[in-house]
């Protein structure tokens, strides 16, 4: 093997900075950004970036020495090795889940939209997988095979698109990058880019614009990126399979979903989420079949048998936390996920009934205050996750709130945060989804939101203090229709928070202002009833039969109900009263010294969310439109003409006399070209002016020509002569445009 010489290295470097490599860089950046945004959520960004850089560099370096066949084998070997490393990094207890059919299932579900965030140890998975294609991309770029490299990078990005992790922007960047590579490779002959580069730019910009504004796939994954996606129902946005994407405005559906017969009134738990992505929630981990009854909460718990009747097809099983067993036909296919939530493999049909057995935690506030912070490391690790990009001010603000409330144990902290959010923020279903971290934006920039915003923010705040917390979705208790029966409607869909207390288990907190939420729901139901919408009532819930208004949610503060029956702490109309009653002087005291939002800092409260600044997407949209405009204008020489036309007529600052005289002549030439004809290639200025003189050229132009000649060929032009030439040309230009000419005379 020859030693590499400097010349070889330089040549390789040059081939690596080929224009087409630019396109490869764009695609590579697109898929790496997806990987790195995943590690931003699950951790390990630094080491993944290093691994990727090393792999890419190694590929580039090896390109010189290793044949392509060997390189492919090397890549396959690397892939196998990293996957094996990932497998053995998984704790042995969880490794049992990795049966061949489970792995096959995982691959299928990855390709059909399972986010990589939901994989066990997703950080390790990214660390194992991301360097492999990067190595190959580096290698192919080093070989000068830019299209191959773009293919590999595009394939990787395509995989991430299928998993649903690559957003519209990354996907678009990838497509544009591949097109850029193809275009620049085609134009790589000398002068190609200069001649057709603007066409390529226009095509790429058009790709971006068109994909941003049009979609051929109705309601498919290819949602138009720059347009409103319509308003989803609150229920649909939180009932998504394993991911909750936080959306903007939402609406309520008054249709009845379930009738639940339960000895306890509670928030009906449907799913817990552990991974916060900054703009949504993911529940990670595998499901396993329910083989024997689950354990109840570690603390004292009340047993409750609950019957759930689905009024429409339903994929989830809302029941009081924590369900330990299920009876009925659904029992055969019931599964349990890693968060202890009972899941249905097949949706319930309309009218189908399931009976579950729940153990509802009994714990009084004092016991919870004394629960300590001796968390199981697995739980602490999993449920204190926050994206690395979460702003520090979230934690700082939380500390200020806790300090003002004098909350020292996790229970008091949770109560303080819950109270702060309830009191300082309004309930509204019509909010605009903020850019960036939702918790941060809600805390600092928004004034109102709905349950998803409240619960997300509270979970993030608890986690910032090291308290294990999860984001929970399900339904609030709904309308009580006598005895132990509850009618649960779509509008009762809800999100809240659970915090973990060692020795007790998960305890519910609900930061959403209950009274306002209740009012909104009541109004929606009344509207629906008066409009005669179908499916709003079951026979037992019709207003003639029961009370004309919804029975208020049981008045209980978190402290009260949490202590009493472990159920959720939904607010009431008499929120303040019960609060005081249940927590006594303690609470009153806390309220007195409690922190209000205005007191936390002097920063101005931003107005409503309809800020006058355009969003990033709108700006990008206009930028791409501008690219098309500019390239089009350049294509037809509009910019040069405009600049020239303006310069001709406006006085301009002078340089040295020679340059000025030359510029004066250039302007004169431009003027004459429009009036008579252009100067031909081989025509000297003098010959040109002579020829035009026969066509009636103004004699003053000849003097400009003479001045130019001396400037260009003798270099003996004085300031005065140059100025004279400039004045003459400007005069001629102004005379050529009578209207403007009069303005300047």
């Amino acid at each position: 093997m020859r030693r590499p010489r400097i010349g070889d290295l330089a040549r390789r470097l040059r081939s690596a900075v080929d224009p087409p490599a630019l396109g490869v860089a764009v695609v590579t950046a697109a898929y790496l950004s997806v990987f790195l945004s995943a590690t931003d959520v699950v951790g390990g960004t630094g080491r993944t970036a290093v691994a990727v850089a090393v792999a890419g560099g190694a590929g580039l370096a090896l390109a010189r020495y290793v044949g392509e066949r060997t390189a492919v084998r090397l890549t396959a070997g690397l892939f196998a090795a990293t996957l094996a490393g990932y497998y053995f990094a998984i704790p042995a207890s969880r490794r049992a889940v990795f049966s061949p059919e489970n792995v096959a299932l995982d691959v299928v579900s990855l390709l059909t939209g399972l986010s990589i965030l939901r994989l066990a140890l997703a950080d390790l998975w990214v660390l194992a997988v991301a360097p492999v294609p990067t190595f190959l991309v580096g290698y192919l770029v080093g070989r000068g095979r830019q299209m191959g490299a773009a293919g590999v990078a595009g394939g990787t990005l395509g995989f991430l698109v299928l998993t649903g992790d690559a957003g519209g922007t990354a996907t678009l960047a990838g497509v544009v990058g591949v097109a850029l590579t193809a275009g620049l490779s085609t134009l790589s002959m000398p002068g190609g880019i200069r001649d057709h580069g603007d066409t390529l730019a226009a095509v790429l910009a058009a790709m971006v614009l068109v994909s941003a504004t049009l979609s051929l796939l109705p309601a498919g994954a290819a949602q138009p990126w720059a347009l409103d996606r319509g308003t989803p129902t609150l229920e649909s946005s939180i009932e998504a399979d394993d991911e909750v994407e936080i959306v903007g405005p939402t609406r309520l559906s008054p249709e009845v979903r379930y009738t639940i017969e339960s000895p306890v009134a509670a928030n009906w738990h449907a799913g817990s989420y552990d991974t916060y992505t900054g703009d949504g929630w993911v529940r990670s981990g595998e499901q396993s079949p329910l083989e024997e009854p689950l354990d109840g909460p570690p603390g004292d718990a009340t047993r409750a048998n609950v019957t759930i009747t689905a009024e429409g097809e339903s994929a989830s099983l809302p029941a009081p936390w924590k369900v330990v067993d299920v009876r009925g036909p659904a029992a055969q296919t019931a599964r349990v996920d890693e968060h202890g939530t009972l899941r249905l493999a097949e949706p319930l049909g309309a009218g189908e009934t399931v009976t579950v057995e729940s153990r509802v935690l009994d714990a009084d506030p004092d016991a919870l205050r004394n629960a300590g912070t001796d968390y199981d490391p697995a739980i602490e690790d999993r449920y204190t996750q926050l994206p690395a990009s979460t702003p520090d001010r979230v934690g700082e603000r939380t500390e200020e709130i806790l300090a003002a409330a004098d909350a020292e144990n996790p229970y008091d902290q949770a109560v303080a945060i819950e109270r702060y959010l309830r009191e300082e923020y309004e309930y509204s279903l019509t909010v605009r989804k903020p850019d960036g971290d939702v918790a941060d934006a809600f805390l600092f920039e928004m004034d109102a939101g709905y349950c998803v915003y409240f619960a997300t923010t509270m979970t993030a705040m608890l986690r910032s203090q090291g308290v294990p917390a999860q984001f929970v979705t399900g339904y609030s208790e709904g309308e009580r229709i006598g005895g132990d029966r509850y009618v649960v409607r779509g509008q009762d869909a809800h999100a809240w928070v659970k915090a973990y207390f060692p020795g007790h288990g998960w305890v519910t907190f609900d930061p959403t202002p209950a009274a306002e939420r209740g009012e909104v729901r009541r109004a929606r139901l009344t509207d629906a009833r008066s409009a005669g919408e179908p499916g709003v009532d079951v026979p037992a819930s019709e207003p003639e039969v029961t009370a004309p208004s919804i029975v208020p949610d049981p008045g209980a503060s978190p402290a009260a109900t949490g202590a009493a029956n472990g159920s959720d702490a939904t607010g009431t109309d008499a929120d303040a009263a019960t609060d005081n009653a249940t927590t006594g002087a303690d609470a009153a005291d806390r309220r007195g010294t409690g922190l209000t939002r205005g007191a936390v800092s002097d920063e101005p409260r931003p107005g409503e969310d309809d800020s006058p600044l355009p969003s990033g997407e709108t700006v990008a949209y206009w930028l791409f439109a501008a690219v098309i405009g500019v390239t089009g204008a350049r294509r037809f020489g509009v910019d040069e003409r405009a600049a020239r036309a303006a310069r001709l007529r406006l006085p301009w600052g002078g340089a040295d006399p020679t340059t000025d005289a030359k510029r004066a002549f250039a302007d004169l030439e431009y003027l004459l070209a429009r009036r008579y004809r252009e100067r031909r290639a081989g025509e000297t200025p003098r010959a040109y002016l002579d020829a035009l003189r026969r066509r009636g050229l103004d004699e003053r132009a000849l003097a400009v020509g003479e001045t130019y000649e001396r400037a260009a060929y003798a270099g003996t032009v004085t300031r005065a002569e140059a100025d004279e030439a400039r004045r003459t040309v400007r005069q001629l230009a102004l005379e050529a445009t009578p209207v403007v000419g009069r303005l300047f005379d």
Partner: protein, 329 residues
């Protein structure tokens, strides 16, 4: 056969002294000088004003001139009258197939009285030498003249003698009898700064010519209107005419064009010749700097004979195309 006729007032041995001490004329003085010479010659030759200018430019640009034409259109008269007008010596060599190099350069003759060899200078020792029908002489003799043109000196029997200053060869070549001529090789043709054709006069002009020539040949009556010294100073002026980079680049681009578009393009010597003649043209116009128009005026006579065009076209066409297509700043 040598015909050493009409030694002009300048004398044989008007040897070249260094140009550096000579103060150049102002450009407009050069223009005036040229005007006088042209007017003076016009009294003898009818309708050959541009030809006279070409001759003058060749002289001022330190070059030599090749005139290609049919016999009898006034080549000799032109050379002789220009020479007389500038007060220079004039000699004519009629090239024939049996002409020897010594017939051109001169021979050492043994003088019995002094018992020494004496150099008898050949016709090449003059300010203006007319080499008539140069393509009829054998190559060896041609090259003797060409060496003199290139070096400005002559070597006989190991002794080197300087030629007069200014020294300008006007060679004529006829293309009517190709069978009996030794065509000048490309390398030699390249040494001629310019090549011109005189062409037939118009009917009116011809009528006037034969009217004038019927009596005495008027060329004998031509009086000098300038001195050799003035010509030398004018040459110094020409050498000092400014040619900016734009002009030099233009010349180089023209040359490059001919190289791209012909079998044999213009040599760098040709480019230099073009720049020099353009300088002379500028001085003739009373300008101290070259403009592209000067280059364009000179290019056809300076470049065309140096280009071997592809079949189906000729050098003149290639140069014309070069002028049309090469952009001027």
């Amino acid at each position: 056969m040598t015909d050493a006729a009409e030694t002009g007032p300048g004398g044989v041995d008007a040897g070249g002294t260094g140009e550096t001490e000579r103060s150049p004329l102002a450009p407009d003085e050069v223009a005036a000088l040229a005007e006088r010479v042209v007017d003076n010659v016009e009294e003898v030759i009818v309708g050959k004003r541009t030809a006279v200018e070409h001759v003058l430019i060749a002289v001022l640009a330190r070059g030599h001139l090749l005139v290609e034409d049919v016999p009898g259109v006034g080549k000799t008269t032109l050379a002789k009258s220009v020479s007389r007008s500038i007060g220079g010596s004039f000699k004519r060599v009629q090239f024939t197939p049996d002409l020897l190099p010594a017939d051109v350069t001169g021979v050492n003759v043994f003088n019995q009285r002094t018992d020494e060899f004496e150099f008898q200078p050949g016709p090449v020792f003059a300010n203006v030498v007319l080499g008539d029908e140069i393509n009829r002489a054998p190559p060896k003799t041609q090259s003797a003249l060409l060496e003199a043109m290139e070096e400005g000196q002559v070597t006989t029997d190991g002794e080197t003698r300087s030629l007069p200053d200014p020294f300008c060869v006007i060679a004529t070549q006829n293309d009517v009898e190709p069978g009996q001529t030794y065509d000048l090789p490309v390398a030699e043709i390249d040494r001629f700064t310019k090549k011109i054709r005189l062409g037939y006069p118009s009917t009116d002009e011809e009528a006037e010519i034969i009217g004038r020539m019927a009596g005495d040949h008027p060329v004998d009556a031509v009086e000098p209107v300038a001195s050799i010294e003035e010509v030398r100073r004018a040459r110094a002026t020409v050498a000092g005419v400014d040619a900016t980079e734009a002009v030099r680049e233009y010349v180089a681009r023209l040359a490059a064009y001919t190289r791209r578009n012909a079998r044999l393009g213009v040599s760098p010597r040709g480019s230099l010749a073009l720049l020099r003649t353009a300088q002379a043209r500028a001085a003739l116009d009373g300008r101290g700097y070259v403009i592209p128009d000067d280059v364009q005026a000179e290019a056809p006579t300076v470049f065309a004979h140096r280009v071997r065009a592809d079949s189906g076209t000729d050098g003149a066409t290639v140069v014309e195309d070069a002028l049309d297509r090469t952009s001027v700043e």
